[in-house]
């Protein structure tokens, strides 16, 4: 698929307005210097020059969603019997995520293996995922703490995007990646972009070369099981951790959730909401026992999930896309890349990284 499109900068808002007539459109909006994906409005202050504080995972995997509603009723003649009516909430709209950074778009592929391409697909996730078009935006610059090239990606990675957009002088080059993406650029605002290809590629290459690799050893980060199992390592490395949920909630690949039934008298909702392995309640058992009693155990799980357990299950693919948010926004600058580097297996050669973060 090589039909390159070009969108003039001055047509950006018009193009988005056109998209918004057919779909719900989310764009990165800056408000009080905080960037988050919000519903597009004509006067939205779209921010493309730095990544959003919080990735657009909120669109497909929102902080909370209603899965079902319950309604209870009683008949006067049978007061000992309560009827329950259950209604599922499966109303999914056509949606566009505009200008997701490649790391954020790639994050959805980490979710897909768990929620979409598994034996028991999650209908809520799949429903939204299939109706969403992701317009990726090739990073115009690197950001503090980001390390995508060290985990098999690049700042112009197409995986997860339906279109990849690259800023060039005067506008944006749009490269369709999927059929879904191809359909979106059938617009009167999109011109032929083939003459801008070279400029776009050069820009992508320049940014790629600026990404820092925090790992001392080349190739796929390989964690030593022996070091990983040494609790004294975690205790010292994580002494400063506050055990808040900022790293997990801002992570484009963290997908853990909680399910609660929230009752009123005659009606109730079954909610799914974000949960985080950094919270003590996450593993608190009914008996009162907590198998991960301290912040060291909890962070150990976070690293283990991303760099050991997930790859073990999914052909060696890492569950980290190197966006750097957990490092950038950690109140005490806990650096996951440094922790992984310190856990590195020094006895064996690292395997070669493939573009999906897996092994060759």
């Amino acid at each position: 698929m090589t039909e390159l499109g070009f969108l003039k900068k001055e047509n950006l808002v018009e193009f988005l307005k056109e998209l918004a007539t057919k779909s719900v459109v989310y764009v990165p909006v800056a408000d009080d210097d905080v960037v988050a994906f919000k519903l597009f409005q004509e006067n939205s202050t779209i921010c493309l020059d730095r990544p959003a504080n919080i990735p657009p995972k909120t669109v497909i995997f929102p902080q909370y969603e209603t899965l079902l509603t319950f309604t209870f009723s009683k008949k006067e003649e049978q007061p000992d019997k309560i009827d329950v009516k259950i209604q599922e909430k499966m109303d999914f709209k056509d949606t566009v995520i505009f200008a997701a950074r490649p790391c954020d778009a790639k994050g959805f592929t980490v979710y897909d293996r768990v929620y979409k391409d598994s034996d028991i697909p999650d209908p809520y996730y799949v429903g939204k995922r299939e109706k969403t078009v992701i317009i990726g935006f090739s990073c115009p610059n690197v950001s503090p703490g980001c390390f995508c090239t060290a985990v098999g990606s690049t700042p112009s990675d197409k995986e997860g995007s339906d279109i990849l957009m690259t800023e060039v002088s005067g506008g944006f080059v749009l490269e369709p990646v999927t059929e879904k993406g191809k359909a979106v650029i059938q617009s009167k605002f999109i011109e032929d972009g083939s003459k801008y290809l070279e400029e776009a590629q050069k820009k992508q290459e320049d940014v790629k070369n600026k990404v820092k690799n925090p790992f001392k050893k080349a190739g796929k980060p390989q964690i030593s099981q022996e070091k990983f199992n040494d609790d004294s390592f975690w205790e010292l490395a994580l002494s400063k951790c506050l055990s808040c949920g900022a790293c997990t909630f801002l992570c484009p690949t963290c997908y853990c959730f909680n399910i609660t039934d929230e009752n009123k008298i005659w009606e109730a909702e079954r909610l799914r909401s974000w949960d985080a392995c950094m919270f003590p309640h996450f593993t608190l058992e009914a008996s009162g026992h907590n198998p991960r009693p301290t912040k060291f155990h909890r962070f150990k799980n976070r690293v283990g999930h991303k760099f050991l357990y997930y790859p073990e299950k999914y052909n060696g693919v890492l569950a980290c896309c190197g966006c750097g948010r957990c490092i950038r926004y950690c109140p005490v600058s806990v650096d996951i890349s440094k922790v992984v580097d310190e856990l590195s297996d020094t006895n064996s050669e690292n395997k070669t990284l493939t573009s999906n973060g897996g092994e060759a």
Binding site: I54, P144, K240
Partner: protein
């Protein structure tokens, strides 16, 4: 103050305690990060400059059973004073290294000042100038322009409590009345304006609880009302109602206890000015009880005492 004096002091203290908490280089040039020193060879990683923003005293209650050395700035020392008032630490188990401080940076303000460009280097001059080298330009900023609000009205540049003081004490040159000027100004807005403001900023809250976990005075820890699942006080919905509920509980729990270190606000990844609410309550406490938290170890926090007749609360007079 040279960092060598600090290192010498830490080396000495390390013979008496299990851990010393200080600062070291973070993941880039503008970030420092807390450093837990348990062996002499780590002492050389210590740094001390305007990037040392964290309130390291916050770690003390969780290390209550250990002997701990801690490096504190003036503002951070109020946390220790408040801990002593509330019995949250054993004073004899803590060695306090005090560092007089004339201001630190606010990362959020610094990034805004350089238009969110990547910062390659930062240096600090004694005259308060901050030289920032970004990929686009080299800029000289004034520390007070990029300092957290607390530094601009700082009354306690020298720690109020310490075992060792490194460097010469600094006297505050900021007027006392300036401390709550911004709160008084904010309060002049109409109720509707204030509600609209808080609705707008709290809409961003993601309930990650970084503010709570960074707060030195949030001591409920794993039993916080915001997360308890049995009973489930606050819904898992992330609507404004739940967000307000959590933040107002946090605020009320800190009435007359908040030492105004600003860690809650600094920790927030979504840029919510959560400290404003706590300082507003503190202003009320000051007016009602003439009490300033974290200043005198012998004080009793007003919410720890009960008087049938509070001097300034007329409506509480019973017949």
């Amino acid at each position: 103050m040279s960092v060598d004096k600090l290192k010498d002091a830490v080396k000495q203290i390390l013979n008496e305690v299990d851990i010393v908490i200080g600062y070291t280089e973070g993941f880039d040039k503008v970030h420092a990060t807390p450093l837990f020193i348990n062996t002499q060879d780590k002492v050389d990683q210590l740094i001390w400059d305007q990037r040392c923003v964290h309130n390291l005293a916050s770690y003390l209650p969780s290390l209550k059973r250990k002997k701990v050395g801690v490096i504190v700035k003036g503002c951070d020392s109020r946390t220790i004073v408040q801990y002593i008032q509330e019995g949250l630490i054993n004073r004899e188990n803590v060695k306090i290294i005090g560092l007089p401080c004339s201001g630190v940076i606010s990362l959020k303000k610094l990034l805004k000042a350089v238009d969110f460009a990547n910062i390659d280097d930062i240096t600090f001059e004694d005259n308060g100038n901050v030289n920032v080298k970004t990929e686009k330009e080299t800029k000289t900023l004034s520390l007070m322009d990029i300092a957290p609000d607390k530094c601009k009205t700082c009354q306690y540049p020298t720690p109020l409590i310490y075992d060792i003081l490194i460097g010469d004490p600094i006297k505050s040159d900021k007027p006392k009345e300036s401390v709550y000027e911004d709160i008084i100004e904010f309060d002049k807005k109409s109720l509707e304006e204030k509600l609209a403001y808080w609705q707008k900023v709290f809409d961003r809250c993601i309930r990650c609880y970084a503010c709570r976990n960074a707060c030195p005075m949030c001591v409920c820890q794993d039993s916080c009302i915001a997360e308890s699942r049995e009973p489930h006080w606050i819904s898992q919905r992330a609507t404004l109602t739940e967000k307000f509920m959590f933040h107002l509980i946090h605020t009320v729990h800190l009435a007359g206890r908040c030492v105004e270190c600003g860690e809650c606000e600094r920790a927030c990844p979504m840029g919510i000015p959560v400290n404003t609410l706590k300082r507003k309550i503190n202003l009320e406490m000051k007016e009602l009880f003439d009490y300033v938290p974290g200043v005198n170890p012998d004080d009793k926090p007003p919410m720890y005492t009960f008087n049938v007749d509070e001097l300034k609360i007329k409506e509480h007079k019973i017949g």
